[in-house]
């Protein structure tokens, strides 16, 4: 419980209506997509950068942890108030401030939902490529904090590749600008890039300046079924060697296809053990040529069937196979651990084989799909947590999956970040010196460890509480 005087000050800063300690509210801001729950002491919905600055100053003087929160769609627990304190809900900062068509730059507040921003820029013929699968709900602030990526990354890159400037509130309550609306800028350290992917541990993002592209005229979707995952992986390399960078190169492994077969009436032939969904975009006349070229390149690689969409409806039907995966997984087992390792593109089949072995060893189904174009594999470890021992087995399997990815020169997260879920494993990937370097930054910027404590670095969980 926070002291009454602190609550009063928070109310003075944000207005009574935007500060709440009702149990119902504390429950509603206690979770994210990890399904873990930690209750905050208070939920605050600030309406401006100045309010956030005042909150940070207050939190610093009273030593109360502050946890920024976008839509709470994070998969690693980044927004969870693991040590009580203040949840800083950013949903009121939800305005698209400017779309500058002349300079192809937009300025937004952090609470804008990703898809709504995409639609707004597309209305004027522009394009914001990063497309996490959560784009209908996740916020741009959350995307920047996690450096979110999606299927289109293979061609267009991830969130940080589009963020050219920020306004932030520092952990000690200063409001500063990083970068700016110009395409170039080399004055000082690149703080923009430092904040992107910092998981809300270094600053509260209050404004985002985004670089835009012209919207591609059209896209073309094809779905290719392969007899093996090797064929699919070789196809990825062959396409890129052929100097074509598709917009997306999504893959699903054999176990994923089994789920889809069982759960839906989508037609997936028996001999198919891997799928690639390939999409190319650009000028209309050039798409047919590209699709034909891709089909020719991959033909010898164990292709069972190729489907090319001619209309947007057909394209949608092809994507439907990918979209049906998430719901179909529940048929395998009720609970899942969703990891998002990333390995060099060419190592995808080897990684899948490793995962299959881990799956057999622990007798736990593991289903893999993801973004083959950038080697990003979503590893879904399916368990029934009510069965004694399964959760423990899953933990061990996860550690082995991470180790496997690292052996192949990969990383334990391509998209979802570290948060609390991967914090215990971080030493597997980063050296002590590397972690110290990062911690030095954190300590310098947030001397009292107020902002999102306990994330990324597990041992920092303790916050000296001025709260009772």
């Amino acid at each position: 419980m926070l002291e009454q005087s602190i609550l009063k000050q928070l109310e003075e800063i944000c207005g009574k209506d935007h500060v709440t300690t009702a149990t119902a509210d504390l429950i509603c801001y206690s979770y994210d997509a990890t399904q873990r729950q930690y209750r905050p002491d208070v939920v605050v919905h600030p309406g401006s950068n100045e309010e956030i600055s005042a909150i940070m100053k207050l939190a610093n003087s009273a030593r109360i942890p502050v946890f920024p929160r976008g839509a709470g769609s994070g998969f690693t627990g980044g927004s969870l108030p693991i040590s009580g304190g203040i949840v800083l809900g950013l949903s009121r900062l939800d305005k698209i401030l400017e779309i500058d068509e002349e300079n192809l730059v937009a300025t937004v507040e952090p609470g804008v939902v990703t898809e709504q921003f995409q639609q707004a820029v597309e209305k004027v013929g522009l394009f914001y490529p990063p497309d996490p699968a959560s784009l209908k709900v996740s916020t741009l602030g959350g995307n920047v904090a996690e450096c979110a990526g999606g299927p289109r990354c293979v061609k267009y890159g991830v969130t940080k590749d589009y963020i050219i400037g920020l306004e932030i509130v520092t952990p000690t309550g200063d409001i500063i600008k990083t970068g700016g609306p110009t395409m170039k800028g080399v004055v000082g350290y690149d703080l923009t890039k430092l904040i992107c992917g910092s998981e809300g541990t270094l600053a509260v993002i209050t404004k985002i300046i985004i670089k835009l592209l012209p919207k591609p005229e059209a896209k073309k979707t094809m779905l290719v079924l392969f007899d093996s995952i090797d064929g699919a992986a070789q196809a990825v390399s062959a396409i890129i060697r052929g100097k074509i960078i598709p917009t997306t190169l999504e893959f699903m492994d054999g176990r994923t296809l089994d789920c889809v077969r069982k759960a839906t009436d989508l037609q997936v032939p028996a001999g198919a053990n891997a799928v690639l969904i390939i999409e190319v975009d650009g000028d209309r006349e050039f798409l047919d040529k590209q699709a034909a070229k891709i089909a020719a390149i991959i033909k010898p690689l164990g292709v069972v069937e190729t489907r090319i969409a001619e209309t947007p409806e057909q394209s949608e039907a092809l994507w439907q196979i990918r979209r049906s995966v998430s719901a179909s997984l529940r048929r395998v087992n009720p609970d899942k651990f969703n990891e998002d390792i990333c390995v060099p593109r060419s190592k995808v089949p080897e990684m899948i084989r490793k995962i299959d072995q881990i799956s057999d060893r622990y007798a736990i189904p593991i289903v893999n799909f993801g973004h083959a174009g950038d080697g990003n594999i979503h590893v879904n470890i399916m368990i029934d947590s009510k069965v004694p021992g399964q959760s423990e087995k899953a933990e061990k399997a996860i550690a082995e999956v991470f180790a496997g990815a690292l052996e192949l020169g990969g990383t334990m997260s391509g998209e979802h970040g570290v948060g609390i879920m991967k914090a215990p494993f971080i030493t597997m990937e980063l050296s002590d010196a590397g972690i110290d370097y990062m911690k030095t930054i954190k300590k310098a910027l947030d001397p009292n460890n107020i902002l999102n404590p306990g994330k990324m670095f597990p041992s920092d969980r303790a916050v000296a509480p001025a709260q009772s």
């Binding site: 149990t23 119902a24 509210d25 949903s91 996740s138």
Partner: protein
């Protein structure tokens, strides 16, 4: 005996929610102020906390639980198919059980006053004057939807008819031999507010030679009572309707109201196995008319010289049961209609049973979005398949200063038929 599920019986549903937040994109109640307590995910977490006795029936809890239109939009988009609307309805029953129904109503009202939303008190209530209400039985959906003291004075409501639909006709209206017999479940909306749509339905069925039974002793489907958490009323209505359904001989039960359709096909079957036998027979009127080949018959009619631009609003309770094509098929086949699809045809109109009474301001906000989409479509008429939606759509259009009319598809159909 009909029996509604207790909240504790929905534990499995609650556990199905993986907190992905997908429902944030589809929940009309959440759209207004983006508070987590309003979205399906939040309400499920709260229901869970109530079962685990981690939360009391505090003001905020009651407010959040009242913030649901039971539209099922979350369910239709949820990757795990969690029935939030069932969870919320059961939670409301649980609240009513613990606090008493009227206390719940009062509780909500106090909370609303608190939120500054409570300018809803009746200042006479025009069409819904006490006098007119006398004609409407106490368990009727209309009374439950619009308890008189809560009617806002700036709300457009259709006048109540002086002669309810069911009183106008004999119980059986014979058709051609060899054609099916249907039982028309009129619902309160058509019986008391939109009897002309009922007449239109009769005309269409007679055009096809179908025998129609309009039982006098049918009652409200009970959906508004579900929304209010009034379990005893729901159970009583379900039992009475069941007794009524047993009494007659028919091939199909048709509805011309999305809520009634939902009551008969979704709520009742959860209350007892016997309802399953009736569920199979229930048809939304347009599903039935399409099955009976009406679009082909309409195609034979000469095209009208003057075409009306008409758009369609999907009532939540039809859309979520996959009924989207048939109403459009009928509209498109009408000789006087030039059909246009509007953006967001599938988004909720904002009525949601008691929701629009307790939360008229947010209900209006949801409706305003709809009114804007209707205007953008360029249509002069918005047609739909639910009296509740018609009322809310017209209210929203009027608030937006639009000229469009909200009508039942049946009204347009009746115009077209010889």
């Amino acid at each position: 005996m009909a029996k509604l599920k207790e909240l504790s019986e929905l534990r499995e549903q609650i556990e199905l929610c993986v907190k992905c937040g997908g429902c944030r994109a589809h929940c009309p109640a959440f759209g207004a102020d983006k508070q987590e307590g309003r979205v399906a995910r939040g309400k499920i977490a709260l229901a869970d906390a109530l079962l685990k006795e981690q939360v009391d029936l505090e003001e905020r809890f009651l407010l959040d639980m009242s913030q649901c239109l039971l539209c099922g939009s979350c369910y239709s988009q949820c990757p795990n198919k969690v029935h939030t609307e069932e969870i919320v309805a059961a939670t409301r029953r649980e609240i009513a059980k613990r606090q008493g129904l009227s206390t719940f109503g009062k509780g909500v009202a106090t909370v609303l006053k608190h939120q500054g939303l409570m300018n809803l008190l009746a200042k006479g209530g025009g069409a819904f004057s006490k006098l007119l209400f006398k004609k409407v039985p106490e368990q009727s959906g209309l009374r439950l939807r619009f308890p008189a003291p809560f009617i806002s004075s700036d709300r457009t409501l259709p006048p109540l008819t002086s002669k309810p639909f069911r009183e106008r006709h004999p119980e059986v209206i014979p058709g051609t031999a060899g054609k099916p017999t249907v039982l028309f479940f009129t619902g309160c909306g058509i019986n008391y507010m939109y009897p002309d749509s009922g007449e239109a339905l009769l005309k269409a069925l007679q055009f096809l030679g179908i025998t129609v039974i309009i039982p006098k002793d049918q009652g409200c489907c009970g959906l508004p009572a579900v929304s209010a958490g009034a379990s005893a009323t729901v159970e009583q209505l379900a039992n009475d309707n069941l007794a009524m359904l047993r009494k007659h001989q028919y091939d199909y039960i048709v509805t011309a109201c999305a809520s009634c359709h939902s009551g008969l096909t979704q709520i009742y079957p959860n209350m007892g196995a016997e309802f399953d036998t009736y569920k199979e027979k229930v048809r939304d009127i347009f599903v039935f008319l399409v099955e009976q080949g009406l679009p082909e018959r309409l195609a034979e009619l000469p095209k009208a010289a003057q075409q009306l631009r008409v758009t369609y609003h999907d009532p939540c309770h039809l859309r979520n049961h996959g009924i989207t094509k048939q109403p459009r098929a009928i509209l498109k086949a009408l000789p006087q209609v030039a059909y246009v699809e509007m953006e967001g045809a599938g988004s909720c109109c904002g009525l949601g049973g008691t929701y629009s009474v307790y939360h008229y301001e947010t209900s209006k906000q949801i409706g305003a979005k709809k009114a804007a989409h209707i205007a953008q479509s360029g249509a002069s008429l918005v047609a739909t398949d639910c009296p509740g939606c018609i009322m809310q759509l017209q209210d929203s259009i009027n608030h937006a200063g639009g000229q469009q009319q909200a009508v039942h598809i049946l009204d347009l159909l009746a115009e077209a038929l010889p």
